[in-house]
Amino acid sequence: MTLTIADSTSGDFHVLELAGDIDVETARTLRAHIVDRFSVPAAQVIVDLSGVDFMDSSGLGALVSGWQLTRDDGTFRIAGANPVVQRVFSITGMEDVFSLYPSVEEAASD
């Protein structure tokens, strides 16, 4: 129903810790937040999805925005996606596009 977004750091990375559901209601906020974090040059961001239970296609769209913004300049990594979320990536073919990691630690040390 709700999505909370917390900011933290891990190594050189800015970490967005998401908790809750990413659906059409919350995707807009998430997208705005992501765009804001990537407004600096060469942003290095990990989106931590370990607290996300559910994500639909709008949520995926928000993550794609982040990925697009760091395409040429910066790093965008996704960590901790549960199998449900992971499946959204695989069905949409995005598992080959995103840099996916089991955990924030692994994402930050890669």
Binding site: V24, D56, S57, V64, Q68, P83, V84, R87, I91, T92
Partner: protein
């Protein structure tokens, strides 16, 4: 309480000593006495004296009681008596007549007098004032009157008009202070213009409670437009006999120019150090609008009848001009409001944000009606701007002020009178202006109590004013102010009718804007619907194609589409796609993607080529958008199918009793400019059904996609597909209803090679 029935033999007033706390009840129109600077006779219908002021002894040489029964010609001489009957015959009893009394024993013998006649009940009242030699400024000429009127008419606003009136009357009469005092709707008063001797304290801006000028005094001011007290220390002259023998009551002196003044009023004036006073009524449309109050501090002031008449005339001229100036003031205010309104609505029209979000970021919403707070309750959401109380209190105010009013503005400048509990929030909301449709949809502007907002020209803590009063003083402007504060406590400045009009206009603009936007949305939605969502699939020999589109709950625009068309080589293209997101943006993007796909396919590109091209198109033309699509090219003759999938959920293939998903997408979403599509080829057998759907069918909170897809497969296999595809899809949706938050699309394609007449089942 006072009593009326106790005749006083030799003193005024003719009733018992007044109670200064109850001047509401004081019968000031029957004081039984006059001021000493003139004399009064009451005549019967045969012009014989019935009552006379006691100073007749000195002025006419005969004691009052001895005049009783004497004809007026004998008392005043033939000439003046002739004027009296002439005035009565002509019916013109308001104009004073200048005449000369015949020689004789009294002080007025051989003197010029002003003679004023009026009727009081059955009596004819004749008043005489000796003509005094006026000081030069008091000389009234046609020329001076005309130029005074010209100056009055040149004023543009009510404030200017009253200021000019005060100046003219001070010039004309020589009073030390001339104030224009205006009544509000509750008869509280405010000094709105003042001309004074430079060394005097200003009274401008002072407020007085309605009790200071009680109803019966207001009545007298309304019928008798000037009142002079030439010497505040005068000895009242009783009328003999004090009671009219015919009625047993004192003579009604409402219209008398010499009427003795209420002792309460005299005390009030004495407390302020006033030696002489005059008032001129400002009567508009028969109602008392205000007063010109004149004070003299340097002793008595005898203002000649001519100058008083001129002052009265100027007062009435000004009163006639008030309407016009008020209209001009209102027009100015209205104009200002309409400019503000125009700016607000212009910014609404040009702002893509929701109407109310824009509105409540605009302080002009407060300026529109001079409010300090504004709140909106709509769709269960409260928006506020400025100073407002809690949401709970806002609802309480809305129900008190708005009631059942629909579409019409309602207001209150005293919320505590409607709901006593609201008295606690008077510091933010003493008055409210409300417009709306019942308790679920309203907008409301608020103002705090007046006390906080009055600009004190007459500072109640004014030391000079305080020093002039000793603690025993009961009546004074300072005391009046304190009383007025009590009276207006919890009240806001009143809401003007143009302000109610302004919010009604705003409401119309808002509904217009909301309607325009919703029309825009609806129009777009409808045209998109027509363009994109085919009513039915084209009839193709050998294929049975059926589709079902269901919009999201609340008819929100979605990004789903489906399409089916024939290629020049006879093959059939079926596509199903979904642009992420909702609303006009998603729908517009969907329209472009769908059209581009058609164009690419008809150009002869393969499904994989088309999908990769779409990826580039979305990425470059629709930044930030993503979409998924499945493209099928089917040869109806052979059943050969080529399939390309970009990020879309896998279609299902129903064959016999089994139903299995096809392989998942060969390439990611459209819009990421990454990867390339893969062609999946297979053959559709007779009776095989291909089911293509969008994520609205399988996305369910808390259920992973594989589980959802499996469920859909099972439902597809179970549902009866021996009859029409339409019935089958309905059955499918009953078993796997999908989400209501998103739009959903299902397209089913069945190979029916045996059906050679080309008509789908």
């Amino acid at each position: 309480m006072t009593t009326h029935d106790q005749p006083a033999a030799n003193h005024t007033p003719a009733y018992a000593a007044p109670d200064l706390t109850t001047c509401e009840q004081e019968p000031i129109h029957i004081p039984g006495a006059i001021q000493p600077h003139g004399l009064l006779l009451a005549l019967d219908h045969e012009s014989r004296v019935v009552m006379a002021s006691r100073n007749c002894a000195r002025m006419l040489g005969t004691p009052a009681l001895e005049l009783v029964g004497t004809g007026v010609a004998e008392v005043l001489g033939a000439g003046p008596a002739g004027l009296v009957s002439q005035a009565l015959q002509s019916g013109d009893v308001s104009t004073p007549m200048r005449t000369t009394l015949p020689p004789g024993p009294g002080d007025l013998a051989g003197e010029d007098v002003d003679l004023i006649v009026h009727r009081s009940g059955t009596r004819v009242v004749v008043e005489l004032e000796p003509v005094t030699t006026p000081v030069p400024s008091q000389t009234v000429s046609y020329r001076s009157a005309r130029s005074a009127i010209t100056r009055l008419t040149q004023s543009a606003t009510v404030a200017e008009l009253c200021q000019q009136l005060a100046a003219e009357i001070r010039q004309l009469t020589g009073f030390d202070r001339v104030m224009v005092y205006r009544f509000d709707e509750d008869w509280n008063g405010e000094v709105i213009a003042e001309e004074r001797r430079d060394d005097l304290n200003p009274f401008l801006g002072l407020h007085y409670p309605s009790t200071d000028i009680p109803a019966q005094a207001r009545r007298l001011y309304t019928v008798n437009w000037t009142r002079l007290i030439a010497d505040i220390l005068y000895e009242p002259v009783p009328i003999d006999p004090v009671l009219d023998p015919a009625t047993g009551a004192p003579l009604d002196l409402s219209h008398s120019v010499l009427r003795s003044v209420s002792p309460i009023h005299v005390e009030y004036l004495s407390n302020m150090g006033v030696g002489a006073s005059m008032s001129v009524s400002m009567v508009k449309d028969g109602l008392l609008w205000g007063l010109v109050a004149c004070h003299h501090y340097s002793g008595p002031l005898r203002v000649p009848y001519d100058a008083r008449s001129a002052a009265e005339f100027l007062g009435q001229t000004a009163s006639q001009l008030i309407d016009d100036r008020e209209r001009a003031d209102t027009r100015t205010d209205e104009l200002r409001a309409s400019v503000t309104l125009a700016r607000i609505t212009a910014s609404l029209a040009g702002d893509p944000r929701p109407v109310y979000d824009t509105l409540f970021n605009d302080v002009r919403l407060l300026e529109l009606v001079d409010a300090t707070g504004v709140a909106l309750w709509v769709d269960g959401r409260m928006s506020t701007l400025g100073d407002v109380p809690s949401d709970q209190t806002l609802h309480r105010i809305a129900s008190a002020v708005g009631g059942a009013a629909v579409g019409q503005a309602t207001s209150s400048s005293h919320l505590a009178a409607l709901d006593p509990v609201l008295g606690d929030v008077a510091n933010v909301a003493a008055g409210a202006l409300h417009i709306g449709n019942g308790p679920d949809r309203w907008m409301m502007w608020l103002r705090p109590e007046l006390e906080r907002t009055v600009d004190w020209g007459g500072d109640p803590t004014n030391k000079a004013l305080a020093a002039a009063e000793n603690p025993s003083v009961r009546l004074s402007p300072r005391k009046s102010f304190a009383k007025w504060q009590q009276v207006v406590r919890g009240r806001s400045a009143p809401w003007e009718s143009w302000q109610l009009g302004a919010v009604e206009s705003l409401r119309e603009h808002l509904s217009g804007e909301l309607l325009r936007r919703s029309h825009q949305h609806t129009a777009i939605a409808e045209s998109l619907q027509r363009t994109l969502v085919l009513d039915e699939a084209p009839a193709v020999e050998g294929l049975d194609i059926h589709a079902r589109y269901r919009p999201a709950e609340g008819s929100q625009l979605g990004g789903d589409w489906w399409d089916a068309f024939r290629l020049p080589d006879g093959r059939v293209v079926v596509s199903v796609g979904d642009v992420a997101g909702h609303g006009v943006t998603a729908a517009t993007a969907m329209a472009q993607v769908r059209t581009a796909l058609r164009a690419y396919m008809i150009d002869g590109h393969s499904p994989t080529d088309c999908v990769d091209r779409l990826d580039v198109l979305v990425q470059s033309l629709l930044p930030g958008q993503t979409a998924t699509v499945v493209v099928l090219v089917i040869d109806p003759a052979t059943g050969a199918v080529e399939l390309a999938n970009a990020g879309h959920p896998p279609p299902l293939l129903l064959r016999g009793d089994g139903c299995e998903p096809l392989p998942t997408a060969g390439r990611p979403l459209l819009g990421v400019a990454f990867g390339s599509a893969r062609t999946d080829s297979f053959t559709l057998g007779d009776g095989d059904i291909l089911l293509v759907y969008t994520d609205g069918v399988i996305e369910r909170r808390g259920v992973d996609l594989d589980t959802s897809i499996r469920r859909l497969s099972l439902a597809a296999a179970r549902a009866d597909h021996s009859e029409t595809l339409g019935g089958w899809i309905e059955g499918l949706l009953t078993e796997a209803p999908g989400t209501l938050d998103d739009d959903l699309t299902i397209v089913a394609v069945r190979r029916s090679a045996s059906d050679t007449d080309g008509t789908p089942a």
